[in-house]
C-alpha cells in the first residue's frame, strides 16, 4: 500500500484552566489514495481534533501531517472540509455558495463558463440542480448537507474531510445521504476521512474503520479492514454474516474494551442520537455557567 496521506506521531495539548490537557498522543495513520476511512470513538475523545489537524485548522503540538510527501500545516482547499452543521453562507444562494468555492480555487485556471459548468456539475452530482436559487434557510437539513458536500467536492480536494456529516439528520434522510455518498465515491474515488457515531454507517461506507481509544491521551485503538465488495447494498448486507461480524467488532470495541467512563473527564456533552434536527452547536453553546447561576439563585431564595 502506497501512502498518500500520513498522520505521524500526532499529539496535541491544549492549555486549560486546570493546566495543560493532552487530548491526543501518538496518533499514527497511513492512508492510501482513494481510501475511505471512518473515525469512530466516544464523544470527546478527540476525533474532531484529529480532523481539524489534518485540515490545518488546528496545529499539532507534536508530529505532523504529510500529504503527497510534503508536510501540511495550513488550511487549504486541497483538504476540503464538510462541517457537521453545513456551514453554508446564509446570505448566498445554493449556487453562489458552491460558486464562491469554485471561483476561489479555479479563478485562475478555468474560464467563467467552465466555472459555471463545474458549479452546476457538482450540484447535479448531489442532486441539488433543482434548487440553485434557494437560500440555505429555504432548504431542508439534508439538502444543506448535500450542498456542503458539493462545495467540498467542487474544490477537487486531494482529501475530503467530513466531521459527522449526517449527524444532525433524521435516520431516513441519513440513509439517502449515505447512498448518495457511495454513488459519488464510486464515481470519483476520493480519499475520504469521515467521523461518525453510527456503526452501520461506518461499516457500510468504509474501507477501514479507525477506532479511537478514550481521551485524554487518546490514540488509534484498533483498525478494522472492511472487505465487503462494492457496490454495497444495505438491504442485502443486512443478513450478511461478514457485515454483521464487522458491526459486532466495532460495537465490542466501543462498549467492551473502551466503554465510556462513568464520569467523563472532558465536557459532559449530550449527543443527539436519533432524529434530532437541532444543530449540535446549540447544545455546545449552552453556557457552562448556567448551573452555578441557578444554584446561586436557589440559595438566595432560601436565604
Amino acid at each position: 500500500m502506497s501512502t498518500y496521506l500520513s498522520l505521524e506521531n500526532i499529539g496535541i495539548t491544549f492549555p486549560t484552566d486546570k493546566g495543560p490537557l493532552t487530548v491526543l498522543e501518538d496518533v499514527n495513520l497511513k492512508i492510501a489514495k482513494g481510501e475511505f476511512i471512518s473515525l469512530i470513538g466516544h464523544s470527546g475523545c478527540g476525533k474532531s481534533t484529529v480532523l481539524n489537524i489534518v485540515a490545518g485548522l488546528l496545529q499539532a503540538t507534536t508530529g505532523g501531517v504529510v500529504l503527497e510527501n510534503s508536510e501540511v500545516n495550513q488550511p487549504g482547499p486541497d483538504r476540503a472540509v464538510v462541517f457537521q452543521n453545513h456551514s453554508l453562507l446564509p446570505w448566498l444562494t445554493v449556487y453562489d455558495n458552491v460558486r464562491l468555492a469554485v471561483d476561489q480555487v479555479f479563478g485562475k485556471t478555468k474560464s467563467k463558463q467552465e466555472r459555471h459548468d463545474w458549479t452546476l456539475h457538482n450540484l447535479e452530482l448531489v442532486h441539488m440542480g433543482h434548487a440553485l436559487d434557494r437560500r440555505p434557510s429555504e432548504i431542508s437539513g439534508g439538502m444543506k448537507q448535500r450542498v456542503g458536500i458539493a462545495r467540498a467536492l467542487a474544490m477537487e480536494p486531494k482529501v475530503l474531510l467530513m466531521d459527522e456529516p449526517f449527524g444532525a439528520l433524521d435516520s431516513l434522510t441519513r440513509t439517502h445521504m449515505q447512498d448518495s455518498l457511495m454513488e459519488i465515491q464510486a464515481e470519483l474515488n476520493n480519499t475520504v476521512i469521515m467521523i461518525t457515531h453510527d456503526v452501520d454507517e461506518a461499516v457500510l461506507l468504509s474501507d477501514r474503520i479507525v477506532m479511537m481509544s478514550n481521551g485524554p491521551n487518546a490514540t488509534v485503538g484498533e483498525i478494522l479492514h472492511i472487505e465487503l465488495e462494492r457496490p454495497r447494498n444495505r438491504l442485502e448486507l443486512a443478513d450478511d454474516p461478514t457485515y454483521n461480524h464487522y458491526r459486532a467488532e466495532v460495537l465490542r470495541f466501543l462498549h467492551e474494551r473502551h466503554a465510556q467512563p462513568d464520569v467523563p473527564s472532558g465536557k459532559p456533552k449530550a449527543k443527539p442520537q436519533e432524529p434530532t434536527p437541532a444543530p449540535v452547536s446549540v447544545a455546545q453553546e449552552t453556557p457552562v455557567i448556567e448551573k452555578p447561576t441557578q444554584g446561586h439563585r436557589l440559595t438566595l431564595a432560601v436565604g
Partner: protein
C-alpha cells in the same frame, strides 16, 4: 343575507342592522378590521387624547411670554412660518430679477461692462434652517460612518487591535460632543483657512461635532457584530484561503450587517439630537439657531414658533430613523427577518 332582508319578521331598520351586523362579523372583515383598528384607530385616539390634554393643560401655564401655546396656536404659527418662507422666496426672486435687468441695461450701453451677480442676503427662513440642519447631520453622519465601520471591522477581527483601541473608545464614548464643541471651533478656525471656502466654518464645526458623537456607537456595534461571526464560517474562509477583501465582503460584512445597522441608527439618532444642541450653543445656522433666536426674540408668538420647531425636529428624527430602516431592508440579505 338577502333572505334575511326579505324575511317578514324584520322591519327595514332591523334588517339594516342585521345586515350591518353580519357584515361586521364576517370573519375576514373582522380580521382586517381589527388590523385597521390596531394600525389606525388606536394611534389616532391616542393622538386626539394627547392634543386635548395639551390644549387643556398648556393654557394653565403662565410664562413671561404669555401662556404656553396650545395645538391651535402652534398650527397657526406653522402656517405663518411657511408663509414667511414663501414671502422671502418671492423677495429673493424679485431681487434677482431686478439685478438681471440692471445688468442687462448696463450691457446694452457698454457690451464690455463688468457685471456682478450678487447673492441675495435675506434672513434664512424656518424651512431653510431645516435643510441646513439636515445637510449638516447627513455630512457628519456619513463621515462618521466611513471612519467607524472600517475601525469596527478591524477591531472585530483582531483581538490585539481591539485591546489596543478599546480603552480609547470607552473613554471617549461617554463624552458629550458639546464638550468638544469649543475645541472643534478653535481647531476649525485655525486650520480651515481659505479665501473662498467651499463650506462655511459654522457648517464644518457642526458637522465635525456630529461626527464625534456618531462614531462611537457604530464602532462598538460593528465590533460586536464582526467578532460574533459563526466560527464555522471563518473556518470555511480559512479552508478556501479567501483573501481579506473577499472574506470581508462575502462573510464578515453580511453577517455583521444587522449589528452595523443597529449602530448606525443609534448614531444617527444621537447625531440629530446633538446637532440641535450644538447649533443653539454655537449659534451655527440650523434649527437649533432658529430655536435660540426665537427664545431671544421673546415675542408673544415665540413659544408657539419654538413648539413648531420642536415638533419638526421630532418628526425629522423619526423620518431619519425610518430612512435607515428602509436602507437596512434594501441591503439586508434576510428579507424575512423582522427589523424594527
Amino acid at each position: 343575507m338577502s333572505a334575511k332582508i326579505l324575511s317578514p319578521q324584520h322591519t327595514f331598520q332591523a334588517a339594516w342592522i342585521d345586515q350591518f351586523h353580519a357584515f361586521c362579523t364576517s370573519d375576514a372583515l373582522l380580521k382586517s378590521g381589527r388590523k385597521l383598528a390596531a394600525a389606525l384607530v388606536i394611534p389616532a385616539m391616542a393622538l386626539a387624547l394627547f392634543l386635548i390634554l395639551w390644549g387643556g393643560l398648556a393654557s394653565r401655564v403662565e410664562t413671561s411670554l404669555g401662556t404656553l401655546p396650545g395645538p391651535g396656536k402652534v398650527w397657526e404659527q406653522t402656517q405663518v412660518l411657511y408663509q414667511e418662507h414663501l414671502t422671502e422666496r418671492e423677495k429673493a426672486a424679485a431681487f434677482y430679477e431686478r439685478q438681471e435687468q440692471r445688468n442687462a441695461a448696463k450691457l446694452e450701453k457698454d457690451p464690455n461692462a463688468e457685471v456682478k451677480v450678487r447673492p441675495y442676503t435675506g434672513k434664512p427662513t424656518f424651512i431653510d434652517q431645516i435643510f441646513t440642519s439636515l445637510g449638516t447631520v447627513t455630512t457628519g453622519f456619513l463621515i462618521a460612518s466611513i471612519i467607524a465601520i472600517p475601525i469596527g471591522i478591524i477591531c472585530g477581527l483582531s483581538a490585539t487591535l481591539y485591546q489596543a483601541l478599546n480603552p480609547i473608545i470607552q473613554i471617549f464614548k461617554p463624552v458629550s460632543p458639546l464638550a468638544w464643541l469649543p475645541i472643534v471651533t478653535m481647531v476649525v478656525s485655525a486650520v480651515y483657512v481659505s479665501d473662498d471656502p467651499m463650506f462655511a466654518k459654522s457648517f464644518v464645526t457642526s458637522a465635525i461635532t456630529v461626527t464625534l458623537c456618531c462614531i462611537w456607537p457604530t464602532i462598538i456595534n460593528t465590533t460586536v457584530g464582526v467578532s460574533g461571526i459563526d466560527k464555522d464560517l471563518i473556518n470555511v474562509s480559512r479552508v478556501l484561503r479567501l483573501g481579506w477583501f473577499t472574506k470581508t465582503v462575502k462573510i464578515v460584512l453580511p453577517s455583521a450587517m444587522p449589528m452595523i445597522f443597529a449602530g448606525l441608527r443609534l448614531s444617527l439618532g444621537i447625531g440629530w439630537m446633538v446637532l440641535i444642541a450644538a447649533e443653539m450653543l454655537a449659534q451655527n445656522p440650523g434649527l437649533g439657531k432658529f430655536v435660540w433666536d426665537e427664545f431671544q426674540n421673546g415675542s408673544s408668538d415665540s413659544l408657539a414658533r419654538i413648539m413648531v420647531a420642536v415638533l419638526v425636529i421630532g418628526f425629522i428624527g423619526f423620518l431619519l430613523d425610518r430612512a435607515m430602516l428602509m436602507l437596512q431592508r434594501a441591503v439586508s440579505w434576510d428579507k424575512s427577518s423582522t427589523i424594527r
